[in-house]
């Protein structure tokens, strides 16, 4: 077993980002600006820096993917709260610690309570969900399990979301699944100063509890 804490592809750090790289990473301006500002402030808690640093090795792909990521993370027709719930759930199901940690922070900022974030781990059937939130999580679970939202969930989602929102939802889940695959395949590590998941949550993530 190799060291899980060693990256398979070492990220380029911002000091090595040249014009071509900045052009690629600039397709998601908010992400790039956040990382650069943290880097200039000493490099602590520069969340996202290592993902951008790996993408920096391939600027054309970075530009193409981040153009897409910028839409689902910024221009989407879904509310921020809905987006963060869906991202947290797909990250949880795919055991994407890096993403989950980042989106706990963003989810709290989007208005999710600590209890809701805890409940995302338990899934759609956990007690306490608003039915619409439960269906959102159910849609993510069905996309993960079957690559398709089931009939009953689809019918109920239709009362809440229009066509553009339903498209944004499926592509959002897909986008964060791509990120999970890249982060895990290349063993991209949390940045210095970013707190990892606590051991109990991590154990639950790997315990295979995919639904409530």
């Amino acid at each position: 077993m190799k060291n899980e804490s060693a990256p398979r592809i070492a990220p380029l750090l911002p000091s090595a980002w040249d014009e071509g790289i900045l052009d690629g990473l600039g397709a998601f301006p908010q992400g790039l600006e956040f990382v650069l500002s943290r880097w200039k402030a000493g490099g602590v808690d520069a969340r996202g820096m290592h993902v951008l640093g790996v993408m920096a090795l391939h600027p054309p792909l970075a530009k193409a993917f981040l153009t897409f990521n910028a839409h689902v993370a910024g221009a989407s027709t879904l509310s921020v709260r809905v987006r963060e719930l869906a991202i947290l759930r797909i990250s949880w199901l795919r055991r994407g610690e890096y993403e989950f940690v980042q989106h706990v922070i963003l989810g709290l900022r989007a208005g999710l309570s600590a209890a809701e974030i805890e409940r995302v781990q338990l899934g759609p059937d956990a007690a306490g969900w608003d039915p619409a939130d439960a269906d959102l999580l159910r849609a993510v679970d069905e996309l993960n399990a079957d690559a398709c939202i089931g009939d009953a969930t689809w019918e109920r989602l239709g009362r809440r979301f229009d066509i553009a929102q339903k498209l944004d939802l499926v592509f959002l889940v897909g986008c964060y699944e791509v990120l999970a695959m890249a982060i895990k395949s290349f063993r991209i590590q949390l940045e210095p100063g970013v707190a990892p998941l606590d051991a109990a949550v991590m154990a639950r993530m790997y315990g295979g509890q995919v639904s409530g």
Binding site: F171, A180, K184
Partner: protein, 213 residues
């Protein structure tokens, strides 16, 4: 494939300026659809998938930029790309995607025997070891959202960092399209030949290899 779409595609006669703006990132697909579309008989395979996304032009423009990378600028050769796409389409039971890429796979040099073997997976007899590892990487990404140690180590001998990034990204991209095709029940275009019944039954019962990690 169920018989009616959950959302209807928007076809060329109804395309507006926002749609054309989205399509500017994927000019060859736009031109192919425009050249073959006739009202009542949507043309080439791919039309319905593209025209479904175009119900939301801002999203389509952003996603198509990512999708276009894989055929305009990927560091992977076409044959490798088609093997990866066919396997993830197969695993996610996306008949539309699979059919489209059987045709593109043949153009990229895949033989009928190789196409049949993609259905069987990395452990089927007859694979070149590198091709088997490509299939194994797809199976592992599907099952575990990561490429396993042994497979990664062997792939790194043949592929550099940019190619490995393109590999993961293309599997993710076409996995996402499979979710779109299945969820929105995107229909094959009239005249397109569906999957043969034996392959369709195998697809419904498909399995991945057991992982050893």
């Amino acid at each position: 494939m169920a018989e009616s779409p959950r959302i209807s595609p928007i076809y060329p006669p109804d395309w507006d300026a926002d749609v054309y703006d989205a399509l500017s990132v994927i000019p060859h697909a736009r031109d192919n659809v425009l050249a073959t579309f006739k009202p009542g008989t949507p043309g080439i395979l791919g039309t319905n998938l593209l025209c479904t996304q175009l119900r939301h032009p801002a999203l389509a423009k952003a996603f198509l930029a990512f999708n276009a990378h894989h055929f305009y600028a990927s560091t992977l050769e076409a044959r490798v790309r088609e093997i990866l796409i066919l396997r993830i389409g197969w695993l996610l039971r996306a008949e539309y995607e699979y059919i489209a890429h059987v045709s593109l796979g043949k153009k990229a040099g895949l033989s009928d025997a190789e196409l049949a073997n993609i259905q069987r997976g990395p452990d089927a007899p007859g694979w070149d070891p590198l091709d088997a590892d490509l299939l194994r990487a797809v199976d592992e990404l599907h099952e575990e959202a990561r490429i396993g140690d042994a497979t990664y180590t062997r792939l790194s001998v043949h592929f550099d960092a940019r190619q490995l990034l393109d590999l993961v990204a293309i599997v993710g991209c076409y996995g996402m399209l499979a979710m779109v095709l299945n969820t929105f029940r995107v229909q094959l275009e009239p005249g397109a030949e569906p999957l043969d019944p034996a392959s369709r039954a195998r697809m419904a019962n498909r399995s991945t290899t057991l992982l050893t990690t």
